[in-house]
């Protein structure tokens, strides 16, 4: 991966930059505390995919969206949901399976939804949400709206057939969608070089469909924002989809049960030395936009927000067993028992 290179000329004002830093901290804290609840408290079950290390990808790209744009992602979805404005309380409650969770305790870690805020999931079958994203964009175009869809996928997902069906149709019909491949180098435990015949993922996903393909350092939040803005403006202008390959790295295993023995401690350490949050703190410090005290204050604030979320989640009620049959259908549901 290329070394982190922050933009010389900032593309954001101070307020926004501090907000982005805070958002990255919020995701990191949310993930770390949730993992503790999973490991030590046995309060969270099922599959749980941590986003730590990849925060700038979501924060920088979502940071350039308009209010009514849409976001959809795969199962590593907590970060995207938080940045779309889902309250940490509601996300944490979902992880604990509570009725107050974003999906009323029926979705879990992999199915975070907040439709009112434009967060359209949280999808757990690898690659299956790529056509959905094209569908959102299809609807926007059909209705003559200028809203754009950002769709995140992993480097593993690009090997699913449906992904390429959707890319083809999105390009064919010039749909306003931007596909962001979060290339963290591993599809679960399979290294990119062992799963993809070509390592440049824009060659796999953009070139064949005649659409723009961008490669960007996904650990640089401002570079991420700049590249995404270009692709979003392209889409909004009716020019169709783009693909962004964002180079990034996940600190944890694929999911909570994965000790990630397929990579060396040294490799992980190398990446952690270039931690994107610390890097961005340094950049903002250099610009004179914040000092150590401000960083401390921000961290304290984020910690308090997450502790409040945990308290809320723990105090929340379990869904009733009767709710098992709720929200199956829009029409009154008749169980076929």
């Amino acid at each position: 991966m290329a070394s982190v290179q922050m933009e010389v000329e900032p593309i954001v004002d101070r307020t926004k930059a501090l907000d982005w830093l805070r958002q990255m901290m919020l995701i990191r804290r949310f993930e770390e505390r949730a993992e503790m609840l999973y490991q030590k408290g046995n309060k969270i079950g099922g599959f749980f995919h941590q986003y730590s290390g990849q925060e700038p990808v979501a924060v920088g790209s979502i940071g350039v969206l308009r209010e009514n744009d849409w976001v959809v992602t795969a199962y590593r979805d907590h970060g995207h949901a938080l940045i779309m404005g889902m309250p940490a309380r509601v996300g944490m409650a979902e992880l604990l399976g509570k009725a107050t969770g974003c999906s009323k305790g029926k979705g879990g870690s992999m199915h975070f939804f907040d439709v009112k805020r434009g967060m359209l999931g949280g999808h757990a079958i690898v690659g299956s949400h790529i056509p959905l994203a094209a569908g959102f964009a299809f609807a926007a175009k059909y209705r003559g709206e200028d809203r754009v869809t950002l769709c995140y996928l992993g480097d593993g997902a690009i090997n699913q057939g449906g992904v390429h069906e959707a890319l083809n149709m999105a390009a064919l019909w010039k749909l306003p969608v931007v596909y962001i491949i979060e290339n963290n180098l591993y599809a679960m435990g399979t290294q990119l070089v062992r799963s993809s015949a070509v390592e440049d993922l824009t060659v796999r996903c953009a070139v064949p469909y005649g659409i723009p393909g961008h490669q960007v350092n996904g650990n640089d939040v401002e570079a991420m924002a700049k590249t995404t803005l270009e692709a979003v403006e392209h889409a909004r202008a009716g020019e169709g989809p783009s693909v962004i390959e964002a180079g990034t790295y996940r600190y944890k295993g694929h999911s909570i049960s994965d000790p990630a023995t397929y990579r060396s401690r040294g490799e992980l350490d190398e990446h952690m030395k270039k931690d994107p949050i610390i890097q961005y703190e340094n950049v903002l410090r250099d610009r004179g936009w914040l000092d150590d005290d401000a960083i401390e204050a921000m961290l304290d604030e984020v910690k308090a927000e997450i502790e409040d979320a945990i308290e809320f989640a723990e105090d929340s009620e379990q869904p009733s067993l009767e709710s098992l049959y709720e929200d199956v259908t829009a029409a009154p549901f008749i169980p076929q028992e």
């Binding site: 079958i125 959905l132 449906g162």
Partner: protein, 325 residues
């Protein structure tokens, strides 16, 4: 009442609903320029234009997913599968996305989408192109599964399907497309979840759906000549099942035969029989029998394929058994 073919009735249903609601559109392979692989969408491109009648590449998984995405944000797509045998490629989209989305989001989405197209053993199409997928889809909570055996029901049910806020799997039968029947004039809606007694009777209940309705009604006429008064029920709604109509009939006749093109093991009739047994076991004077297809892939050879279909003699033999004749 106008006399329409099955395909004309379906065309009318889509056309009327698209005129009524701009959110409704049709997408699929060959639906537009080609006028439909089975001519169900004939003339619709000319009427509505390419914005609303959309030809797709051969990408069932992809365009099923695009339809689902469009439905998630408020459009009302009709997705045509050239045949439902090809829906197997889109099974993940239909099951994991269309059926689950409302539930796993805690009720944040409606899913007003219709998947429709031909199905069934249509004549020497072989194992890959002759699927009857009703039982596969009927098992999934969240889906509505409908099938029509007459042009009138085809029109009325499809209109109800398009107006539904839930995902509907609407199974047509290729052999039925040219068949004609009377269709009520004006606004004609058939409610979801209601079976139809196509022939009232007192002695035995014959339960069927889709193409075998014809053979079942013919068998009922033969039985009448033999002094047996058969009641013929067309399920129409596979999921939800109209248990009220089924149990009312079985309580009256005390005998039931299920006639279906589905495979015998875990086929649709197995599920229907299970529910009748558990609801009104004490009313039955004989085990429920099923006239299903043979437990083999569908062969190309015409005579072999025909041997698998529910036929009048096979239905009569089953009725003889449940009436102990």
């Amino acid at each position: 009442m106008a006399v329409l073919s099955f395909r004309e009735a379906l065309n009318q249903a889509m056309t009327e609903e698209m005129e009524r609601d701009d959110r409704v559109f049709l997408m699929g392979e060959e639906v537009a320029e080609y006028d439909g692989a089975y001519k169900v969408s004939q003339g619709m491109l000319k009427r509505f234009g390419p914005r609303r009648v959309v030809d797709t590449p051969i990408s069932e998984e992809g365009f099923a997913g695009i339809g689902i995405g469009a439905a998630m944000v408020g459009l009302r797509p009709i997705v045509e599968f050239m045949t439902f045998s090809f829906s197997l490629v889109a099974f993940d989209q239909i099951v994991n996305n269309s059926a689950n989305m409302r539930y796993m989001s805690g009720g944040q989405f409606d899913m007003p989408i219709v998947f429709r197209g031909s199905s069934g053993m249509a004549g020497q199409l072989g194992a890959t192109h002759s699927h009857r997928p009703e039982a596969w889809y009927a098992q999934v909570p969240g889906l509505t599964v409908l099938t029509a055996a007459t042009p009138a029901d085809a029109k009325g049910l499809l209109k109800s399907a398009i107006r539904s806020d839930d995902p509907v799997v609407f199974l047509e039968h290729e052999v039925l497309y040219p068949q004609k029947g009377e269709v009520p004039d004006g606004e004609h809606l058939v409610p979801i979840g209601k079976a139809d007694v196509k022939r009232p009777g007192e002695d035995v209940t014959l339960i069927t759906y889709s193409r075998p309705l014809k053979e079942t009604l013919a068998a009922a006429e033969e039985l009448a000549a033999q002094g047996i008064d058969a009641e013929v029920i067309d399920l129409r709604s596979i999921r939800p099942l109209d248990m009220e109509t089924l149990t009312r009939s079985v309580v009256k006749t005390h005998r039931a035969v299920i006639v279906e093109e589905n495979w015998p093991y875990c086929g649709l009739g197995a599920g229907v029989a299970d529910r009748i047994y558990r609801a009104v076991f004490d009313e039955l004077d004989a085990p429920i029998l099923r006239v299903a297809s043979s437990d083999a892939p569908i062969p190309y050879n015409k005579r072999m394929e025909s041997s698998m279909l529910p036929s009048v003699p096979r239905i009569l033999a089953a009725v003889d058994q449940v009436t102990y004749r």
